[in-house]
Homo-oligomer: 364 residues x 3
């Protein structure tokens, strides 16, 4: 692993363009060192990650395979620093670490981390970097992961940071697992191209939609359909981005008419935790933006239903048993793609490729 | 491990008798898949578990043995889902997992699991089942473990559930460790038959007493003596059960007269957390239902004193040093029997038997 | 590991002198069993620990080495019992355990340990000793670690206790890491002798200063300079101790004049959590007791700046990049010295020495 060192001070670093920052975020071979933004991943890199995740998933099917996987990154230890509670993402990353043999430490609630209140977050993160080899970090604060990545790359003991969600801002590994799920699901139906992806729900405030939508432009001839009540329709920033990239997209509030053409329906929940005046979401009629038996009947037999979870009432539990309901597998995909990302961060791809090749006959 | 699949819906499942449910709880070889109820364990199965626990305990005495044990279930990972705090049971299960090489994740307080509030417990448990291979679950809610076991057996990714305490309802592994302690303690005095087991304390509200009492009818000619103040005497459900099984039992409030005949004295604490009108327990005179120096003098030299812990003043610390005080060893037995149960759940008994046999000469 | 058994009762134990207690705290070979007090470590033992820590640190530089280290104490499991939150010390001990292959359990906040409220701390600690092989314990209560060490040595299942901080009283492993940092830093400048160590800040209430100051008298011709505002100057107990040992020390409130002669400047933060009437610290002018650019210019080129962390404003972040700023490495030293201490507690020094010797050529 070639560590990118950053000798710029913070003020100078901030003036860089995204492309200029990439020098400090990526390893020399083009793989990520710090994972901060979904945009760090182009189509080629997404493909590499998906291949690696597939291999890990297949290898893990045999007992011998699980034992092998536990040696892949067993010389490293990871810090899970979750200043914002999120059991799902936490357990997914924890599992990814355990699969690859990384030992972990954690600070995940305010009670146990109270001691850090007296000190700056910079010092807390340098503390973690003294004891661990990787920091997986979730925070409600926009931009904090990036600042900490700069801090470490600028220190005498640089270690990588993986952003596990930074406020409304970025949640890059969620975008990775979404893309991985689409790639897996369309493996036998022509791959992730010329597909219609329908987003439905609170498209204004969900960072998930924003990130995935931006990554989809990497794939040819994708059509994106945004279905939401007008007050929650996808933001102008996303629309402008898609227009700039000459992406094919449209906005509507007619869910049922849009479903039959969809290859993937990506449902999201109302993000009422971001309400500005408490309760404004409750006033919006969202009843027409739910997925139940009726919607299932409208859906193509080859299409899939996704959801980043947790869900509330936007997907009926009646849908759970249908083979097109992909959200549980999507969640499990998160574990595999995160394992792939961690292995790649430590430059351990080749070890996995080699084992996969050698054991190729017993797999499939 | 042959996973029992349940294709019944929840309403249909609930109408089953206990015997009919057993099909969905046990593996084809007669060992437990889901461990929900103490009654799943008959005398033969209890014997098998005790043997396995003995072997694990002996193997763990040597360094080489501990290294072996850590490979037995090292291809699996367990989720400790403790929505009700219980450090003792938690640490016992954690230790059992560590002894066998299972890696673990945990959700064990409300702060870190707050994210799950927005979603149903069903979805939370399916999340855990996406990442882990076993769920060890403690909850204040009666019947929840059973519902979750059904849910998973009814899903496309069934994994076993071990009930680590579900309200006042069931705490099957506590009953297992109690039986194991009795079996170990009477190994050299004729085994667990023709013995007098005395229960003392709050017999009305302790699930421990209920479960153990029910399991004891599996053993020949056991006499059960229930010693309690009238307000806390053992419930009619237990009495009816014992009468139905033609078990030998009696009720009394004269502790000192009963002690000399006891082979085991099982002390329990006043469960005032279940008081209906706050403080009713405090009004009951429990001073005659404590075990101290005086009671120790009345006790047979071959008898034992048990307690599920934590204790308050019902056993004097003066008793701790006496060789008949079995409660610390009883607690440690919990770790061994839980390790045995987990190994059995994953069908790893034979690996342990084989190692034990092979290393037989160096043991004892 | 020869376990020292204590058959004295607590009352009798308490009447012992420190030297008499040592019999129950140390193993027969002169290494620590329970680590309770900094004073248990004489110069020879400190040297042995530092050597072991150095070896572990070097071995950990290679992947093969980290794999070896994880087998050194892999047959043991440790309980981290932190009834007082301290993420830094916690993570340092956790890392030390992970490096050596010990599995760990933890009780580290009041929410999860609430069940223990009903029972005595003695019973809680005996619970931990039933499941684990070592207790690493932090508590706000003075003397508790010692009482628990006695309890376990007096029980039928003695296991060692390491004091990870007991109130204002003792924090022996902090003193160990401070000495280790001084030893490392002066390796090429004549070792830890004939050096001037300057303490600055709140010298009255910091147990760190007290412990380190007492250990320094083990080294020849050390001069200790205590720099503080009069209200926070080092206590009479320390002064009397140093006078008794004929140590060379002085008190001053003129920081800048003292800096040029210092070989090590040990900064501490204002311990306002110990204020008797809330806010008394805030009234003291501490502005002249901070280390910034100006102070750095006054400092010898071979000198070092230490801090137990967390820091507030007593060291400017401008100092962080200077090679003489030793506090981050000091923190990481804590992980190595704790690993050394744990290895020594379990009698595994020779395994490490042997590996280090054998791999000597590839190291350095």
């Amino acid at each position: 692993m070639a560590k990118p060192i950053c000798e710029l001070n913070w003020e100078a670093y901030q003036t860089l363009s995204f492309q200029e920052k990439m020098v400090y975020l990526m390893q020399s071979g083009g793989t990520p060192y710090h994972t901060l933004f979904a945009q760090q991943f182009n189509r080629d890199l997404l493909g590499q990650l998906a291949t690696l995740a597939n291999e890990i998933r297949f290898i893990a099917k045999s007992r011998k395979g699980t034992e092998f996987l536990k040696t892949v990154v067993s010389h490293k230890r990871a810090m899970l620093y979750f200043s914002q509670p999120s059991s799902r993402t936490f357990l997914s990353f924890l599992s990814a670490c355990q699969i690859l043999g990384l030992q972990t430490g954690e600070v995940r609630d305010t009670a146990t981390s109270s001691e850090f209140k007296g000190e700056s977050r910079e010092d807390a993160v340098r503390t973690f970097s003294s004891y661990f080899d990787l920091i997986i970090m979730r925070t409600p604060e926009k931009g904090l992961a990036e600042r900490m990545a700069w801090l470490l790359s600028n220190s005498e003991r640089p270690i990588p940071i993986i952003n596990a969600g930074s406020g409304q801002d970025q949640h890059p590994t969620q975008a990775l697992l979404d893309i991985y799920t689409l790639l897996r699901s369309f493996e036998k139906t022509g791959g992730l191209q010329e597909k219609t992806v329908l987003f439905c729900g609170d498209l204004l405030r969900g960072r998930t939609v924003r990130s995935l939508s931006q990554l989809l432009v990497n794939y040819p001839k994708i059509r994106q359909v945004f279905v939401a009540p007008p007050q929650l329709q996808v933001g102008e920033d996303v629309q402008n981005f898609l227009t700039d990239r000459q992406a094919n997209f449209e906005l509507t509030d007619d869910f049922q008419s849009a479903i039959p053409e969809a290859d993937a329906v990506y449902m999201t929940r109302i993000q009422d935790e971001w309400d500005q005046s408490k309760g404004e979401s409750a006033k919006i009629d969202t009843s027409r933006f739910r997925f139940g038996k009726t919607e299932l009947d409208l859906l193509k037999s080859t299409a899939i239903v996704m959801h980043p979870l947790p869900r509330r009432e936007e997907i009926s539990t009646e849908v759970d048993g249908d083979p097109r309901a992909m959200y549980w597998r999507q969640m499990r995909n998160g574990m595999w793609i995160r394992a792939a990302l961690i292995a790649m961060t430590f430059g351990c791809e080749q070890t996995i490729h080699a084992y996969f090749k050698a054991s190729g006959t017993e797999i499939v």
